[in-house]
């Protein structure tokens, strides 16, 4: 999905991991994914540059559907749909 489409999404769960360094955002994502149902959408906020690569790889492994990235000024929003 492009950023325009992603901006219009209302996530079922927003995980704010801004300010934490590796592996903080990944651990936060792992923790929060348990709270949503299959097919629901989670949004992860991260200021850690590595998260942009880590979360898509993690989704691949966990079979979640990675929807894409929206870049904000000082952080990144990452969207995924739970498998």
């Amino acid at each position: 999905m492009n950023s325009e489409e992603l901006r219009n999404i209302t996530a079922n769960q927003i995980v704010d991991a801004r300010g934490t360094a590796c592996p903080g955002p990944l651990l936060a994502a792992k923790k929060a994914i348990g709270d949503i149902e299959s097919g629901e959408i989670m949004e992860i906020l991260s200021s850690d540059e590595g998260t942009k690569h880590d979360i898509p790889r993690w989704c691949e492994k966990m079979e979640h559907d990675f929807l894409g990235i929206v870049e904000e000024d000082s952080y990144t929003r990452l969207f995924l749909k739970k498998a």
């Binding site: 934490t20 360094a21 590796c22 592996p23 903080g24 651990l27 994502a29 792992k30 993690w58 492994k61």
Partner: protein, 181 residues
């Protein structure tokens, strides 16, 4: 003919059984170094691996065992050499030195300050998270014996065992990923 096929099926079932028991989605790591930076790397990889849905088993051996000591715990009945080892080696994870640029403590202190500033979790926090996530720590019995460390002076950690090399080998041989740090 049919007996032949039955035998073949039995043989195949055996092989499939072996394969299923084979490699697990598991990380097995030897933590040998007692350096601050290397133990930090080991803990970051370990907690990351749990998030990556892997089971994690750490084998702490040699210099790394000193990092698991609890500075608050005192034990008696050590001989002179054990006492010396105990004094010369870092007493717990907060006394570790950087492998490079320690500079009589200045470098390590600077690194800790920098980690705080950049929101990198401290070793204390990393071990706490690892414990909550179920990261298993196995300590090499021989190393502890060699350095005169006792079980009673090790830090409180929910999944800690003292074991030998066979435990590590058993864990490693069924792990997809094996590392040595």
């Amino acid at each position: 003919m049919s007996i032949d096929i039955e035998n073949q099926i039995a043989e195949l079932q055996k092989k499939v059984g072996k394969l299923e028991k084979g490699t697990k989605d598991q990380l097995s790591m030897v933590v040998f170094s007692g350096d601050l930076d290397k133990i930090l790397a080991a803990m970051i990889i370990s907690t990351g691996a749990v998030a990556y849905d892997m089971k994690v088993k750490l084998f702490f051996t040699f210099w790394a065992t000193a990092a698991l000591r609890d500075p608050q715990k005192k034990v008696s009945g050590k001989n002179l050499i054990s006492k010396m080892f105990g004094m010369m080696l870092p007493k717990g994870k907060n006394k570790l030195k950087l492998s490079k640029m320690h500079m009589m403590g200045m470098g390590s202190a600077m690194m800790k300050g920098l980690m705080k500033k950049k929101n990198v979790a401290s070793l204390d926090e990393m071990f706490k998270i690892a414990g909550e996530l179920g990261v298993e720590i196995n300590i090499c019995e021989m190393s502890m014996d060699l350095m005169g460390f006792k079980k009673e002076e090790m830090m409180d950690y929910p999944h800690m065992n003292i074991c030998g090399v066979a435990t590590f080998l058993a864990d490693a041989s069924e792990s997809k990923v094996q590392l040595f740090i």
